[in-house]
Symmetry: C2
Subunit: 589 residues, 2 copies
């Protein structure tokens, strides 16, 4: 079983030194989120992750969840029930939920940092409360007082969990194809009938009740995504009756095996409308940003754990001599960290992780500002950033987090391929994050086809303005040049896109993925330059070790080593256009 | 269970139309390898792969191999024993082995094509005879007549299997650290004692005897890689006595679960020297090229299967409308193949697969020419190509084959992540190919640190000459320009490397991986241009469908779409140098 230490130092550095996130405590409603409070919460979260979640992670993967076709019940792996109870009793389920219903009302940003630790140590377990969180948000924003009063306290305390029932066999991305039906009943409730698949936590043995949030169609509703409504369907009704919402089986998956991924059959199950008729997708979308950022954090968290394991391995494993002579003459070989090609894999992970963490927390902070800042203009600008960064965070952190984990495995050779080191599990677990909550291709289309156009195209303008503000703070002239050059490359690609996509929307479709990567790379550049700026200013102040500061400064140099060539490649991919992609007839593949 | 059709059309096209591989039948010893013969063998191989290997692939993954600590025996999954017997009885074990001992003496190239089918359909099963093949080569080239007469016929017929016992707990890449000992006995044999790990097929229930090829040290041998000798250690001695070479357990791995990966304990096991004392590594290296090319083929074969599955899915799965209006108006949505971002993933696979196949077969043909061509100069040049291309084939086909498989999975969304579609197994199985038989980083170091310098640096000269010969055949002026520009980029990077690596060998270590990628990209360019050349000339001749030829021409266009930008990125990575990598002190990570 591998070890894990929450990277608290790096988390503190980004939160307090780079982002000054304690300023959130000046926002009404976040008065409690002082630096001391945040540090104390993170210390406790680290203990919870290391002592409660981590010890059962590998066994959870080996055992997986078990389905009993007789009872239609699901059993979670050994230790999960107890660990979940500890998690819930610690108050972690309701960290950012409304105090009105028993939540702690702390910033999203703090929840993101805690989520990172949970994802590092036990993604499967983290998904159960993760889905509850989505249900809590949807109910808080859209449900009637009756539903809120009945369900929110139990979901926030973690006594019950929630689900999101969107996907059906014939529809994943294209929710307009939903067939699940909702029949209105005389008492104001609805009877829900249909089959949902891929339902995380649809059935399990860790809690007494499960609140399903289900997308379904009312009689006569438009035959498109505009005809979908959202319903709450509990496993047990208030009087204890079992609602006919049964699990029909589990998916057999490549990873996250301790997360119960259920087929759910609703057979005239009783439910209640959440929000207005035919507004179901809109209700779902209000919680999409935080859900998608959360999935990005999964990629980051898994990659962090893999980095720790592979770095430890590279420092201990003795194999071959350094190309410049023995570095460890007492032994017959040097630690593999001395070899440039191993360093390539380790450094790539460090540069990804620390930059991506900064980018994710920066976005998370804007999520809080967009909701709580007293100044409307600040709220709006923050919302622009959240909107444009959400698909980037989701895709980039899960794609590059996966490849970072992959580098960890590769640097460990055969050991990485065995279950002895947990990295192969992290890789398998992380594979799904690139798919669910909207595939990464869908995220890219969301960025290019929707976000760039929202509010008359102001989102990219706000993005550029924010980036330029951060660049204006930099002391290192080389970094300023690098960042400005990358922003120019991005700007040129955006202009190419604007000119071509208006003539043919398939140009946007073809450009979407490299355009998202170019946004991510540019954002990473500004994050790294900013972190180096802070490290350079603070170096010697004793708040962190000299090695910590020097590591930041050197990682920034390493980031910029090939950043321009990479940006040029993405730009070429954008401007390569759709023609060679769309040229193939179906039988020419 | 997914379907698989051997891509015979594409195999024929590369073999007969592009490479004119039937010309091998003009080499002494390969007289049988006529076009008709090769076509007939490939037809049979396709049937064997589809009907014998494919049906047990998924069950093999689910069951895995089982170890019994009481008996120290290993049981393979249901159906493996019977399938292996069919494989052996079909003569597939000895396809390219010497007719003197019962082999069929057919070209390596043909074996490579057959291997591709076996890897597509059941990599785990394919590894047992794959290891035998290595043992056969080593014995054929280096063993005494006594050992050859005793072991070769049974290994070639497949009645027995072979292993390669190199790795030990403290040494993988660095074989100088081997501790296994060989004590000379009065009868000319040796007693072998030590522990070997990662031994493929070290113990299993499919055959009556296993011949282990074991690296060990003689008393007083130099304490380095120059003090290693090679021994043959059978499971059962000729008189039926059980030799104390026992399996101590199985590795629990991410993939290739039906391949028994054993810990082997040799406890004064009787063995015989193969070749000369202290020349063990040299003996091993003589079969390294074909073994490494074979591992490259694993990456290709798995990716081929994944491509077939994902392409079929993309044609059938209906989701959302085309951006340019309905393409499938009878249904509520279009097949996802209409979406540019899905096409990006499908086209990327096609371009990789068909180009890599051409590159691998081209290299395989040179392996045959290097051994059998009557003209010494042709043999030498062919050997140059084999030497320089081997690490490229091994790394590029396994890395990019893995990423191609990954694209297949991604294009299928959640379905790809489930066991329902086999792609996730292909991805897990393929992960190891980037590691074993020398990690891909080691391949890159072999290219940059060894191959570029061999024979006074003539290998890259031969490579450039061959590439220019192929370019001279092209009719498409754009393709000529593209290829020449890529060769120039490669040349510039090589010059940079020559200037810098001589001053500091760590510059070579840091540049190795991107340099290998640049070689691979340049080779792919010439392969694609050549295939397009042949397709353009033959289009309309009816040998293949028009769609086949058009697909080749369009795929070549798609390849060149971003090739220069990609080359520029690799060049920047080479010339980025070692400084930012080596700058980190150990505690700064």
């Amino acid at each position: 079983m591998a070890n894990y230490n929450a990277p608290l130092n790096d988390m503190h550095f980004v939160l307090f030194d780079v982002l000054k996130a304690h300023s959130l405590s000046e926002c009404p409603g976040y008065e409690d989120a002082t630096e001391d409070m945040v540090r104390a919460v993170l210390d406790e979260a680290a203990k919870m992750a290391e002592n409660v979640l981590q010890p059962i992670n590998q066994q959870g993967d080996i055992e997986g969840c078990q389905y009993d076709p007789e009872t239609k019940l699901v059993t979670t792996p050994t230790g999960f029930k107890e660990a979940y109870k500890q998690f819930a009793q610690g108050g972690w389920s309701g960290l950012s939920a409304s105090p009105e219903y028993g939540g702690q009302g702390l910033p999203h940003l703090l929840k993101i940092v805690v989520d990172e630790m949970a994802c590092s140590t036990n993604l499967s377990m983290g998904m159960y409360p993760g889905l509850s969180h989505g249900a809590i948000d949807a109910l808080t924003l859209h449900a009637s007082d009756f539903l809120k009063d009945t369900y929110l306290p139990k979901l926030i305390s973690g006594e019950w969990t929630g689900t999101m029932c969107l996907t059906e066999p014939q529809c994943g991305t294209d929710l307009g194809l939903i067939r699940t039906k909702a029949d209105p009943q005389a008492d104001g409730s609805y009877h829900i009938t249909g089959t949902k698949i891929w339902i995380t936590g649809g059935e399990h043995d860790m809690v007494d009740n499960i609140a399903h949030l289900v997308l379904a169609k009312l009689p006569g509703a438009p035959d498109s995504s505009k005809g979908i409504s959202l319903f709450l369907v509990p496993k047990f009704l208030e009087d204890g009756t079992r609602n006919p919402a049964f699990c029909g089986g589990l998916e057999h998956k490549m990873g996250i095996k301790a997360s119960a991924t259920c087929v759910m059959n609703f057979e005239n199950a009783k439910g209640w409308l959440i929000g207005e008729e035919n507004q179901g997708l809109k209700c779902m979308f209000t919680m999409m940003n935080s859900a998608r950022i959360m999935v990005g954090i999964q990629g980051l968290g898994l990659a962090e754990k893999a980095y720790q394991i592979s770095l430890g391995f590279a420092k201990e494993r003795l194999q071959s001599r350094s190309l410049t002579g023995p570095k460890n003459p007492e032994d017959k070989a040097d630690p593999i960290l001395v070899h440039p090609d191993v360093r390539r894999m380790i450094s790539q992970q460090k540069v990804f992780l620390e930059g991506a963490r900064c980018m994710a927390y920066w976005t998370g902070m804007h999520l809080d500002l967009s909701e709580k800042h007293p100044d409307e203009k600040v709220r709006e600008e923050a919302d622009d950033i959240v909107q444009i960064m959400t698909p980037i965070i989701k895709s980039y952190l899960t794609d590059d987090g996966y490849f970072s984990t992959d580098q960890a495995l590769q640097s460990m050779g055969g050991s990485g391929f065995t279950q002895d080191w947990e990295v192969e599990q992290l890789l398998r677990d992380g594979r799904i994050a690139r798919i669910y909550e909207g595939t990464n291709g869908i995220q890219a289309l969301d960025l290019v086809g929707r976000k760039l156009m929202l509010k008359g195209g102001r989102l990219p303008r706000t993005y550029f303005a924010k980036m330029n503000q951060m660049i204006a703070e930099l002391h290192n002239e080389d970094h300023v040049k690098h960042c400005k050059a990358l922003l120019s490359t991005l700007q040129e690609s955006l202009m190419w896109l604007a000119a071509h996509a208006s003539k043919n929307p398939e140009e946007a479709g073809a450009a979407a993925t490299p355009m998202l990567k170019l946004f991510a790379l540019t954002s990473m550049a500004v994050m790294w330059a900013t972190m180096a700026n802070v490290a350079g200013s603070k170096k010697g102040d004793g708040a962190y070790t000299e090695a910590f500061y020097d590591g930041k400064l050197k990682a920034a140099d390493h980031f910029f080593r090939v950043a321009h060539a990479q940006a040029a490649f993405f730009k070429a991919d954008v401007e390569g256009g759709k023609s060679t992609l769309m040229a193939f007839a179906e039988d020419e593949f």
